[in-house]
């Protein structure tokens, strides 16, 4: 009887939730709009399970407590002629409602503990990946493989500021996703470069703060290839909302191929760094890099944010000697938000962006900065 009533209740609650969902439906699946995702790893499943257990316990207690309260509000109202009694204590009842919740809590602690143990089981990983939070992008380094790259938001500023319609993957797309093999245990070593970030992939049940000077670890293992999107979850400055995490899980063979391509591309890049670029090629490339990596502070129009981030338009650096410009971009300016881009941008990117800054928005130095110049600058030091 009780079981049937419970099943009926669950079903009707499900129907209500489904109705709510239809009201708020967009294009995503039903669950993702209202509830925690079950995800694709053991940890995310454990988090989901304990979440649901807690939610149901709270729901049942809530219905009992509020049900009683609403009954009292109906039955003992003055307008129905209720006369107040005068009791104000009952030791037995008070003891009961102290002890019973305590027992419920102790029971809840058991699954809660076993779920947490799973989170911390980082031993025996097949692959180690260093994840570093930067303002405002992620760097992934495949340890022992000599592969590392930056992953930053690909959504153009024009979409963010409403000058162009928003794409399907608005704020959920990056220049280069993290790629993982299915069926392998991956350990993430997470750290921060500047301020504290937090690396979150809901479908993996992984959320770890990326603290500068500190390394922490988390892990994931999934058999389901696919694309999983996450976010930065620790306030890290003005680009906080604009540094998504995108992870692609591939079958082992595809992953091996990807890794091999990645290494080959790096080798090829190293050999073509000497290529001479034309003025216009660099402008196109530079605008792309600038809008992605610099416009967050210095603004798309190069005017910065007065009082916070300096303008580049008509600035001393952008119009002055190129070596000073290189120094600022490659080494950064200590003690300010202008960090070193030596590790974050490639030589080609740095050359292009410097070229662009010197020749855009009415700046007209007219010189050409080549990737080889950047390399020479770095090596000369």
């Amino acid at each position: 009887m009780l079981k049937r009533a419970q099943a009926l209740f669950l079903r009707s609650l499900g129907a209500v939730l489904a109705l709510v969902y239809v009201g708020g439906a967009n294009s995503e699946s039903a669950a993702s709009q209202l509830n925690m995702p079950q995800g694709v790893t053991e940890v995310s499943q454990a988090a989901y399970d304990i979440h649901m257990i807690m939610m149901w316990i709270c729901t049942v207690i809530g219905i009992a407590v509020f049900g009683f309260m609403f009954y009292v509000m109906y039955a003992h109202r003055k307008s129905r002629g209720a006369v107040a009694e005068n009791f104000h204590e009952n030791v037995l009842v008070e003891l009961l409602w102290t002890i019973v919740p305590a027992i419920i809590l102790i029971v809840m602690a058991i699954p809660a503990t076993s779920a947490l143990l799973k989170v911390y089981d980082t031993e025996n990983a097949d692959i180690d990946i260093k994840v570093t939070g930067y303002q405002w992008k992620w760097q992934y380094e495949y340890l022992g493989e000599d592969v590392k790259f930056m992953s930053e938001l690909r959504t153009p500023q024009d979409e963010i500021y409403g000058r162009e319609p928003k794409g399907e993957h608005y704020l959920r797309e990056v220049t280069e996703p993290l790629v993982l093999p299915a069926g392998k245990k991956v350990r993430f070593l997470i750290t921060g470069n500047d301020v504290i970030h937090s690396w979150w992939v809901p479908d993996f049940g992984v959320k770890r703060d990326a603290v500068p000077g500190l390394f922490t670890s988390a892990w994931a293992k999934t058999d389901k290839p696919g694309t999983y999107v996450g976010e930065c979850t620790e306030l890290c400055g003005s680009g906080h909302a604009f540094m998504p995490v995108v992870v692609e899980v591939k079958e082992q063979a595809e992953y091996d191929q990807w890794l091999a391509d990645k290494k080959a591309a790096a080798a090829e890049y190293a050999s073509t760094i000497g290529k001479q670029w034309t003025f216009d090629e660099l402008m196109v490339k530079g605008e792309e890099v600038y809008n992605r990596s610099c416009a967050g502070c210095h603004a798309v129009n190069g005017e910065g944010i007065p009082g916070v981030f300096p303008a580049l338009k008509n600035s001393v650096i952008a119009l002055g000697p190129v070596v000073e410009h290189l120094r600022v971009v490659v080494d950064g300016i200590p003690g300010t938000a202008m960090q070193s881009f030596a590790d974050q941008l490639s030589e080609v990117d740095i050359a292009a962006v410097i070229h662009y800054e010197r020749n855009a928005w009415g700046n007209d130095v007219g010189d050409i900065t080549q990737p080889i110049d950047v390399l020479n600058y770095k090596q000369a030091k």
């Binding site: 070593l189 000077g213 030091k381």
Partner: protein, 182 residues
């Protein structure tokens, strides 16, 4: 003002002042101590003096090395070997490569971390570049040495130990003047 108010006021003000002093002068060292004991944050102990050699050859543990640069630290910095396999109790030396790629003389400090946290207490360094700050002149390169021993009491559940260093630029805050480097 009544005397009873005055004594109470004095006591409560003393409590407030005490809590302030507690926050500034007691909590930080207490936290450091706590971290060292429990390995929170994977901090390692200072220099270790090996007392006896008891190499546990029946067991192999992989030790990985990871390097990171903090913001504004343009040096090249990486471990010369990514991982080594050691027996607990065995002393092993490894090197990190550092290259000051800038045109300025700089001083760096490496901050170590050990993962997993429960291995931190068993990771002993008999020599480490992280004990001192590391000055490098403009363009200078160096191999920075580390000698370590894994304690044979390392918990059995640990098969891999990861030692990571974050390199910070401390040129501005160090007392070592640039002229001393040259």
């Amino acid at each position: 003002m009544q005397t009873s108010h005055r004594t109470l006021l004095a006591k409560l003000l003393a409590l407030a002042v005490a809590m302030f002093l507690f926050a500034v002068f007691v909590l930080p060292p207490l936290y450091d101590l706590f971290c060292e004991i429990t390995g929170i944050g994977g901090r390692t102990d200072g220099k270790y003096e090996a007392v006896e050699v008891r190499v546990d050859t029946s067991r192999q543990v992989e030790v990985q090395f990871v390097a990171a640069n903090n913001a504004e630290m343009p040096w090249e910095f990486y471990p010369m070997e990514y991982s080594v396999v050691v027996h607990p109790g065995e002393s092993r030396a490894v090197n990190f490569f550092a290259h000051n790629t800038t045109g300025e003389n700089m001083v760096a400090q490496a901050i170590p971390n050990v993962l997993p946290n429960n291995a931190a207490d068993y990771f002993h360094k008999t020599a480490c570049f992280c004990f001192d700050n590391q000055p490098l002149a403009a363009g200078e390169q160096a191999e920075l040495g580390l000698v370590f021993i894994l304690d044979p009491d390392l918990p059995d559940s640990v098969n891999t130990v990861t030692l990571s260093y974050t390199l910070f630029d401390i040129t501005d805050r160090t007392a070592l003047s640039i002229s001393q480097i040259q």
